[in-house]
Symmetry: C2
Subunit: 608 residues, 2 copies
Amino acid sequence: MKVNVRIIPPDRELKLKAGDNLRSALIETGIPLDSPCGGQGTCLKCKVQLSGVSQKHTELELEKLSREELDGGWHLACQVKIEAAGEVRLPEVEISRAKASFGLLGEEIALQPNVRGISFKLSRPSLSDQRADWNRLAAYLEKQIEGPVSTELSLLRELSARLREWHFSGEAVAVGSEVVALDPPGSTGDRLGVAIDIGTTTLAAGLVDLGTGRVIAIDAELNPQIAFGADVVSRIMYAQEAPGNRTKLQRELVRGLNQLLVRLCRSARREKDRIFEATVVGNTTMLHTLLGLEARNIALAPYIGGLNQSLDLPARELDLQIHPRGKVHVLPSIASFVGADTVAVILAAKLHRTRTPKLAIDIGTNGEVMLATRKGVLTASTAAGPAFEGGRIKYGMRAVRGAISSFQAAPELNYSVIGGVAPKGICGSGLIDLVAELYWTGILDQKGRILLPAEISSRRAGKLASRVRARKQAREFVIFSDEKREVVLTQQDVRELQLAKGAIRAGVELLMKEAGVTSGDIQEVLLAGVFGNYINRERAVTLGLIPPFPLEKIHFIGNGAMDGALKALLNLEERRQAEKIAAEAHHIELSGRPDFEATFLRCLSFGN
Amino acid sequence: MKVNVRIIPPDRELKLKAGDNLRSALIETGIPLDSPCGGQGTCLKCKVQLSGVSQKHTELELEKLSREELDGGWHLACQVKIEAAGEVRLPEVEISRAKASFGLLGEEIALQPNVRGISFKLSRPSLSDQRADWNRLAAYLEKQIEGPVSTELSLLRELSARLREWHFSGEAVAVGSEVVALDPPGSTGDRLGVAIDIGTTTLAAGLVDLGTGRVIAIDAELNPQIAFGADVVSRIMYAQEAPGNRTKLQRELVRGLNQLLVRLCRSARREKDRIFEATVVGNTTMLHTLLGLEARNIALAPYIGGLNQSLDLPARELDLQIHPRGKVHVLPSIASFVGADTVAVILAAKLHRTRTPKLAIDIGTNGEVMLATRKGVLTASTAAGPAFEGGRIKYGMRAVRGAISSFQAAPELNYSVIGGVAPKGICGSGLIDLVAELYWTGILDQKGRILLPAEISSRRAGKLASRVRARKQAREFVIFSDEKREVVLTQQDVRELQLAKGAIRAGVELLMKEAGVTSGDIQEVLLAGVFGNYINRERAVTLGLIPPFPLEKIHFIGNGAMDGALKALLNLEERRQAEKIAAEAHHIELSGRPDFEATFLRCLSFGN
């Protein structure tokens, strides 16, 4: 039996099957519902307000939801069995559209793109020169580009009519050696390219005018796959659950990318079918889901992907809506957890060409560590998890309106909230700030325990101590509280952050050990990903996320992965460098090392 | 308004639009109806019997159809306007399935195909060897074939599961450098290829086991495009008439090819998705319609095609139903009327390597002439038209049941009919025989006039003279006549044959002139196409179709085009030779020569 359910927003009437799980049913129909725990009832993110139906709360809901929420008809969608027609109100959705920051601005990149425009003016056919149309055009173009050219059947199908209409002159657009489009003579049509960074959480794209080399628009969008799980492992699990799921992940991702392209082109007032090439970076799981490859073995020891090589393919094979004959270049990956995004960071930061030791750390939903010396680049991946982005944190949220984004503990608790409203939760940067401040004030000890007022010895704690409370044996630090809601940091939240921090620090330590360098040898530390956007350098040192480097050695490089994708789009030599990086980087599989466990445990502690 | 019309055979009820032309409506719905004149009411081939409706005969029908036909309710479909529901009986359809004859049998071709099988046994992944699955397989295969390998996304999508199922061993099938299929370890799956010759009238295909090099099945099929016109020019015109027609020609052709493939595989008991590559030859118009390219400029001076180069493309782009990742190699053409079929004949006959002058003539629906000397190969195309295949001949028909296939004039008229039934018409070989005999007996003079009994001077004519009659000012030779029907040769039929003969002979003369050789210099004459199958050597000399060569210099090479396609399938070096032939052959455009007209007029006469 089907029942009519009205979903607000977007105010859409759906026919859902009675008896089905509401969360699953909504996700199936493409309604974006944030549920990082995958429906296990632990993340508390899939709250919906039901009306027109009197649905009983489950025991789990009664335990997890506030009085206010219960009274207001709020439920966890993952706990609701669809029973009767009614209305489902979704929480206000705000999509992070934070522009990715780019480090490229200072650097001049020589324009030598794979996409080229070539004017042609052919001799007219005659009884004494009966070369076929393509033979004639190809011969001309081959002289211009000094190499063979090819094209697709669909272009050949329109070639003869176009050549005659244009009196055998025109402008050809080639991607590599393939002619993908023909324009009338004298045309000044755009030749655009797009660099895409597929993050587990965020899709970012930069639109480039390949005629001038200018980046003309940059934008970001939530990865729609997030409805199927917050991290790569939960997406891999989802893909395995049912036969069509792999395809579904692929389609959702491409749908998100296509939306992003539409927005980019609208803001730059360009046509998306003038985009002739896309360069793509991302972690290997994201690239596997983009290509529709099986990713399950990435998550199982010995962590083997289907493909780490670079790949050139027609955009239409992925249904990426650029020019119908446009091409996609996926950059190569190094290992299953050191993807093309890391290759791109190395490329952007020129780590592969350094003469002095440099350390780079890229934190997205995973954390990659790179250590470059004259002998080459060592890489490691760390199971940092999504804590730095607010994932698996009770009141964690993305950096959108209502998120506390920074803290100051002394002389008393001060924080700023995005949008200047009452706080709803904490985003990644706020979390790091808060934990670092609580450690500094002595409310957190070195082992990460929240101390009760009686246990606190530091004088720095001051009035903050009164905010610590114990609830059901678990300790919490109360950040905000009024009659309607509260925002707290739990002991479990601190543990999540410690695991993330420990993983990254252990990676740094082991790479230094492998390369035989000490932190004193390292001349520069580059922080990419969320670091660049949100994390304070001093606090990263305070917490011990990185060794105690002098602050002047630490630089933010923003979204280095996007920078690398742009470089590969703008310059073919950079693209060749990316191949070299992937082939020559030496990946250290941390889980395979006997000294990993001890190092990791040591690195869980706060401080340096 | 739509009316119900039952079509028998195949006994199918169609809803046709009242007021529409019956011939067009039948062809639109895919009913095969032979109508080489394209609906102009001149070929008289689209006869249909109407019942259940009393349709008046048009004036043209009253003139062209016999009393018997008129009384029996027969009409010309091209003259019928659909008015009311009823029944349409089509004439008995018999499709020529004459097996193409092959000259290859005597020649040993080294097996060096583009399709290869490569066994692999990979090292198992481990924490110390984390190469991705494709990287691992590609590295292995690249060592085996000493060059880079690639593959398609669809294979990558199944790769990881297959490798694990087969414990990292198996058999790869590569077409060129692309891996197109994976088989389990120890598999003895076929690796098949197919050579295809697309004639204007006949599609021929040879199925080859590329593991052994054996041709395992050969078959032919009527080109279904014949419903849209008998010759290349009428098909080109059809393609221009309406926007969808080009696609329709393409689909019909591929439908015919796919039927042929099904039959080939059934007779050889093989699976069609074990065919990994097809080599394709044909005249340029047929290749243009196969690829869906615009062919109109082929028919207009200066006769320019869209593409004469060879082309490699995925079979699925054409919807050719071989292995889903199988490839198609279309051989190169020389000029708009000297197609890949001619390249294939040159390849098969090794004309490009000859040290003594050799002449070759290939007659399909068009006639191509090749003259090879030590200096290279000269080619010409002649507008021979379809007369040699019975086209544009009043009682002309293909070589099927009821066709007169040979004549003997002395001591009296003797002929043989295919199937041993009463004659219905004359096929190409019968036509040549008859005209040659009538010329020899003096009933035809050198200029091709049918002489009335009073005008005949030769004693050889004997009783045959009485078969000549004049009807409405046009003279006819009566071959067969009873109460129900007659079969005659008209003066117009003789003219058609003369035009065809004159065109070919002029081509031969002009190529000899161009090369500076005389017929005495020519060491060998190779006759391909319908010649090999049907035309008697002596009569070709008697008529003056070819210069008076000693008979021992004249050899039939059967379907040389198919032989060439097979060679290109079996051996990559032969395929490279085909490229060389197309690049180096010197094409003489006859219509561009000042001496063409006079030579052609001189060659219209019979005799040598």
